[in-house]
Amino acid sequence: MLTKASRTTFLVPLRDGVLAGLVALVLAFPIVGLPTSETAHGLVLRPRIPEAIAFAVAVFLGRFALGVAEAGKPRPILLIALLVAIAAPFASAAPEFGAALAIGGLFVALRSALLAFPGVAGRISGGIRVPPVAIKRAPLVLLLLLVVLPLTPVIDRRLLDIAVLVLTYVMLGWGLNITVGLAGLLDLGYVAFFAIGAYAYALLSLTAGLSFWGALPIAGLCAAAAGLIVGGPILRLRGDYFAIVTLGFGEIVRLVAINWSSLTGGSQGIAQIPRISFFGLADFTATPDPGRRAFHELFGISFDPAHRQIFIFYVILALALAVNAFIARSRKLPLGRAWEALREDEIAAQSLGLNLQRIRLSAYAIAAAWGGFAGAFFAVRQGFISPESFSFLESAVILAIVVLGGVGSQLGVVLAAIVMIGVPELVRQLAEYRMLAFGVAMVAIMVWRPSGLISRREPSIRLGDAT
């Protein structure tokens, strides 16, 4: 005979687990278990039934374990889940299955740890609260680390490359944070401005012979102008309609770039975009063109191909910091306050005399300008651009960085960019699963913490003393 207590502790989770396992089996059976494969005689099925069943069993076990943990036995579950997570990668024949089991085990362990130690759970479910002193110092420490990073011996070309990539996404994330975080507008087409900036620089440098430093402001202006033109009519729309229209705009820009071949080179893109120079004073080559100076001659040091890369790193660092400084400053200015007021309550802010259209347009166009700067930088760094780099997925990645980091949190964007861009670049085996994990993370974080990982965002202004 089962006691009533053991019934609720085991039978109910068992029922839930079986149900979840069955649903998982139904979902996985055809898609995972029956992949089609191309042969000379058309498509054939190559069944992988065991994988589908293993998937369902794993879901059953996970759901059951979570249920038992939630019903009051978190500690034994924590222990078992940890053991599974540690043993799985070694015990399983298929490495992918072992990895999946390990991740599942870790998830269950995390959840039951939170249940077993409610004090910790309470603190974490309020967002990761870092002590204010650490928050205040963290950016400074991070900045110092970044400034000396290229000069330290630990860094090699590959790491520096990844750092530049991460910083590009940090800059884009901060730029998008002006629209999403400060003005509260969900922009699903931010990559359009990135693309406009990149094409503006590529075309200006190739046709008009402008240098990067000459073309940079123009690229930003082009993107801002596009923002003004597009933003004008669409900023009246409600949140989700606005999001879809910006998505449409992003796709239109990409399709135009593909089809207007005479200007943009079509899907072939534009190659051999001129490289960056040292503020127009010197080039980063061993043998400069006649009449130009080389960087190493200018400083009287020996030539090193890494110089250009290090310079590129400092350029993107400066650009990203400029966005950050702009945001920090604008939150103290009337304009930034108006953005936040409109985000918090459209109607109240409008009835206090704020012009919704103009204020939102300014946020949209300014974010667009930063996107354009980032695009010009992207073009000069790659030396090659094509419409492929500016798909909707890119917008979604930038948005994911902003959202996962915590909308409006500057430090959160940095963390999210490191986790989302840097880690998969470092661990190439994971690259295949990167987007899969991206999707799962977006859903999981929305469900678990709709305001993002770091939810420290203090109000920009308080009335009187908050007592």
Partner: protein
Amino acid sequence: MQVPPPMAYFLQQLINGLVLGSIYGLIAIGYTMVYGIVGMINFAHGEIYMLGAFLALIAFVALSAIGLSSVPITLVIVLVVSVTFTAAWGWTVERVAYRPLRNSPRLAPLISAIGVSIFLQNFVQLTQGARSKAIQPFLRGGVTLYGGGDGAFAVTVSWLQIFIVVFTTVLMIGFTLLIARTSLGRAQRACSQDLKMASLLGIDVDKTISTTFVIGAALAAVAGMLVTLYYGVIDFFIGFLAGIKAFTAAVLGGIGSLPGAMLGGLLIGLIEAFWSGYAAAEYKDVAVYGILVLVLTVRPQGLLGRPAIEKV
């Protein structure tokens, strides 16, 4: 019957557009129903349609592997398989990714839906492969309305095109009756007016919303199956563009309005066909995006929708 060539070309585009439009209409119903009841854009709906197409493809390959040759039986089995499994996906997505967010800020479900969309695309790409999948033409032959002997332009309707238009028309009539006459339909209409009030009056809101997602997914699965038959080629990425176009159709017709979704679907299909036929085919997607932007800015309530009034 003698038709001058420009007229014949026009007729052919009209037929193509109607076929395309009825498929968009089926997908658009899923967007409009969910928007009408929960007030969110189910961004992953295009991916559900893509899953439907893949499930239909798998069923086709499996049936031809066991040597089933009867056309009607194959069609029925493929339809049942695709609809059942896709509906299960639709139900799960709602349960896992949307239900916990029902009372969160407006944009949270949209972001979650984008996450689902990215996940499903990559899930299918990883499990089924990134290359596009082609099947043998299934329902061959058709009627030539206007014979194109001596090199003149021929207007043809294939059996498949007739099947698609007839089948979607029957489905839409059945669906309209479902909403207008059954208790489930009444519950859905009640929920779309006021969720809280409906629950106070004893309607199981969770169940109604689940059913809505299941019906939407089932209709998308039918669309996916029809596309697999019609084009014979699918890949993991087809959901994105089809989703946007169907959403545009729903918005054009007036989001939340079921006849609007069907009308919008037909219009988008026709616009796309005529744009490809008479203007620049490579800009046909730009035309659809342009319509989306234009409708939302000029007439956000669409053709048949009622303007939304925000109450404070």
